[in-house]
Symmetry: C2
Subunit: 481 residues, 2 copies
Amino acid sequence: MKQGWQLNRKSEIPLYLQIKHLLKEKIRLGEWSIGTTLPSQRKLAQLLDVNRSTVVEAYEELMAEGLIEGVQGKGTRVVNNTWNVIQSEIDWNSYVIESTYKPSKPLIQKINEAEFSPSIIRLGTGELGKELLPIGAMNDLISNLKIEAHHLGYEEPKGSLELRQAVCKHVQAFGIHTSPSSVLIVSGALQAFQLIASGLLKQRASILAESPSYVFSINAFQSANVQLHNVPIDQIAKNPSILAKLKAQHNASLFYTIPTFHNPTGFLYTEEQRQNIVHACQSSQLPIVEDDVYRELWIDTPPPPTMKSMDQSGNILYIGSLSKLVSPGLRIGWIIGPETVINRLADLKMQVDYGASSLSQAVAERWLSSPDYYNEHVNWVRISLKERRAHFLHLLDTYFSSFATWSVPTGSFYVWVRLQKELSLHRLFDVALKNGILINPGSIYEERDASYLRLSYSYESKERIEQGMKQLASCIQSMIG
Amino acid sequence: MKQGWQLNRKSEIPLYLQIKHLLKEKIRLGEWSIGTTLPSQRKLAQLLDVNRSTVVEAYEELMAEGLIEGVQGKGTRVVNNTWNVIQSEIDWNSYVIESTYKPSKPLIQKINEAEFSPSIIRLGTGELGKELLPIGAMNDLISNLKIEAHHLGYEEPKGSLELRQAVCKHVQAFGIHTSPSSVLIVSGALQAFQLIASGLLKQRASILAESPSYVFSINAFQSANVQLHNVPIDQIAKNPSILAKLKAQHNASLFYTIPTFHNPTGFLYTEEQRQNIVHACQSSQLPIVEDDVYRELWIDTPPPPTMKSMDQSGNILYIGSLSKLVSPGLRIGWIIGPETVINRLADLKMQVDYGASSLSQAVAERWLSSPDYYNEHVNWVRISLKERRAHFLHLLDTYFSSFATWSVPTGSFYVWVRLQKELSLHRLFDVALKNGILINPGSIYEERDASYLRLSYSYESKERIEQGMKQLASCIQSMIG
C-alpha cells in the first residue's frame, strides 16, 4: 500500500488536500472499489508522516462528498465514486467471502505482512539469512549460463530432462535409485502438496500427519476438502503401528511426515523407527509422503537414510527442494514416485501453470551439476549453522532458562521452545511485534497446545538475534509477571 | 519414458533379455507400481528400435514369472513384483481416478505428448518459434544481472515491487493507470485463471465466455466446479446486451473475454464494441476478465484501447503476460484489479506456491525496463509475423482453397480455418499425427462445431510450415475423398 504515497511538502497545496486527492484517485481508478476498507486514520498518519488531524480533515471532506462512510467499530469504507453516483458497482468483497479456497490463517497473514518491514527482527523465519545464501556462486553460474531457445520456451510436462537427470543423480546419495520418468519438477514443495491434494485425493479424504507439523500451518489440503488427523510425533516414534490403527479408523489415504529435522520440532527419526514406520504403512497399504527438504542441513552427523530408500513397492512419494539450502526464490522442488502418480501430477502441473520457470530450472540444473560450488556451499552452511546454534543456545540459557525448556536440534533451523507457563500466544505475538520482533507461535502448527514457540537461528545476523532474544524474553516475562 | 532406455547392441546379452531386465528394474524400483499399464509391444519396439518379436519375447518371460499380465483389449499390466509376491501394494490408479481435479482433455494430453517429439511439425502451436525469441537480448540482460540476496529469497506476496512498478509503466501505453498495490505477479496467465477460480468464485458459479474460446481447452474453471456458458462471439460483437440477459439467466459471476486477437479466431473487437461491452457489463454488474496477452502482437495497425482503460469502477480484472511476446519459459504474467481482489489473490498465490520465481521476476523487470531491447524485439516480431502471415496465406490459397475458408488475422499467431465439409476432427488429428503433423482441432475450443482448425504461422520455420501444410492438405483431401 505504501507505493505512490508521496506528499510534496514544498507544494502550496495543503497536505490534507494532497491526501484527499491521493485517496480520491485510488477510488476513481477503481483500485479501491466500493466496500473497500480504508486504512485507519492513525495508520495513514503514520504512513505519511503527518499529524492525525491532517488525515481526519481529508477523510471528513471525502465523507462530505459522499465517497466514504465511517461505520462505528468497522472503520471507514468506500461507498461511492466520483464520476457517477448512481453507477452500479461490483461488490468484490462478497466474491471473496463466498469463494472456495480458504484464506491464510490470520496469524499467517500477519506474519506474511510483517516480514516485509525491514526493521522487524524475524526470529521465526525458516530460511537461510542473506549471509548464508550462495550469492557469489549463483552469480558465476548465472553469468555463465548460455541462454538458448529452450531456456525461453516451455519445458516438458515433467520438467527439464537435464534437471530431472541431475535430481536422480543427486538423490542417489540418499539411497534413492530412480529414473527421470519418475521425477516431477515442481515450483517448490508447497506446490507438491497442492498437486497431491487435488490430483490424488478424493473429496473428504483423510490424511494423517504428525502433531505438531508444518502442514497445519498451510491450507493446501484443507482447501481441497481433505481432512487432517494429527498423531503425536512421540507416539509415532514409539509405536508406529498406531498409524495402521488410525488408517483403519479414519480411512486415511496418506501419511504426511517430515522424518528428518522435522518442522517445527527439529525431531529426527532413527533408522529403526523409519524402518518400522515404512513397514507399518506398507503392510496397511497407507502411502507415505516423505517431506525431506531439510536433509542436507545436518550439523553434527549425517541423518539416517531416507524412508524412500527403504521403499520397495512405490509406496512413498518423496519431496525434495532447493529452497532450504540454496535459494527459496528459485522456486524449484521435486516429487519422486511411481510413474502412474508422476504422470498424473505432471498433467496437473501443466494445467495449473504450464510448468516451473525454465530459467529457474536451468539454474537449478547447473547448481546440482556443479559439485565444487555445491560442496563448498553446503559445508559453509553446516559450519555456520553450528556456530549459530551454539550462539542461540547460549542466548536461550542466558535469557530463557527461567521460564522455558528446549532440546538441542541436530540439524536445520529451528528450536522448539516450550514455555513452562501457558500464556496467550496471540497476545505474545502482538506484543512482540509491537516491540519489533516477529515470532512463529506454536499454535500455527497444532491447534491445541498453547505453550510452544518455533524460533530460528538461521535467518537474522547474530547481533540482531541477540537483540531480539533479549527483547522477546522481556516481553514474555512481562506477560507471565 | 524414453530416458534410460538404452540397449547395448555390442553386449553378449541378447536384446530381449536386456529389455526384460529394463522392465524388471522399473517394476522392482516401484516406478511401475502394480496396475501400471506397460507400453504396447509395438510402441516399445519402435522406441527401442528392435523387432516387435524381441519385445514379445521379453514380455512373455515376465508373464511367465507372474510379474505382468495381458488383458484382452486393455493392454499389459503390472500385477506383481519380484521381491515378495504376497506383499500388499498401493493401487495408485484408484487414487488418480477418484481425485478431484479433472485430467486434461485426451486431445490436449496427446498434443502435450507429441510436442516433445522433435521431428513433428507443429502447425497448431501458439508460441513464437525459436528464431523469433529474443535470445541475444536475454543473454545480455541475464549475464548483466547482478545477483543479490533478494534474487535468491522470496519476494513480497504480490511479487517484486520493481517488477510491479515496471508493469504499471508498461500498461500506461495501453491506457491503464494503476499503482503497484493493484498488481499481482503470477506464473503466467493460466495461473491467473486458477487463482480467480478458487479465490473469487463460489461452488457451482457460472461464467460466460466467448464461443469458441481458449478457455474451453483448459480445466481451470471446470475443475473448480465452475460452469462455463458459451456465447457466440459474433453475437457479442453485434449485440453486447446479450451479456446482461445471459448474466441474469445463468446468474453469471464473470465474463471472460480475449478482446484483442482472440484465441483461437484472431477476432478483434472495435473500439465501439468494446465500449458497448464494458457498458453492458457495468450496468448489469457483471465483472469482466480481460485476457490481453496478445496485444503487442499487432501486424497491421495498433489495436483499439483495452477494455480496462474504459473501466471507471474496478469492474475489470486485466491479465497480461510475457509469454507470447518474449518468453513462455519465464512464466511471468500479471493481474491488475481492485485492491480487494488483488490482496485476496496474492494471499492465495502465497498459499499455492509462495510466489513466482524471483529470478524470472528480476529478468522480467529488466526486460520491461529496457526499452531499447524491448522495442527492437517487438518491431522484429511484427515484421516477421507479417512475412509469415503472407507466406501462410499464400499456402492456404495454394493448397486449401478447394475445401476451406478463412479470414485474415490482423495480429498474433492464428488462422481459424473452416473446412467446408464436416469431418471427424479426431480422425484428422490422428491421421495428421501419423504423417508427422500436429494440429489443434477446433473442437478443443468449442464442443459443438466440428469444422474448424486453429493453425499457427508463428512456431515452425517457413520451410517446415510449407511441408506441413502440403501434407495436411493431402490428409484432409484423402478424408473428404
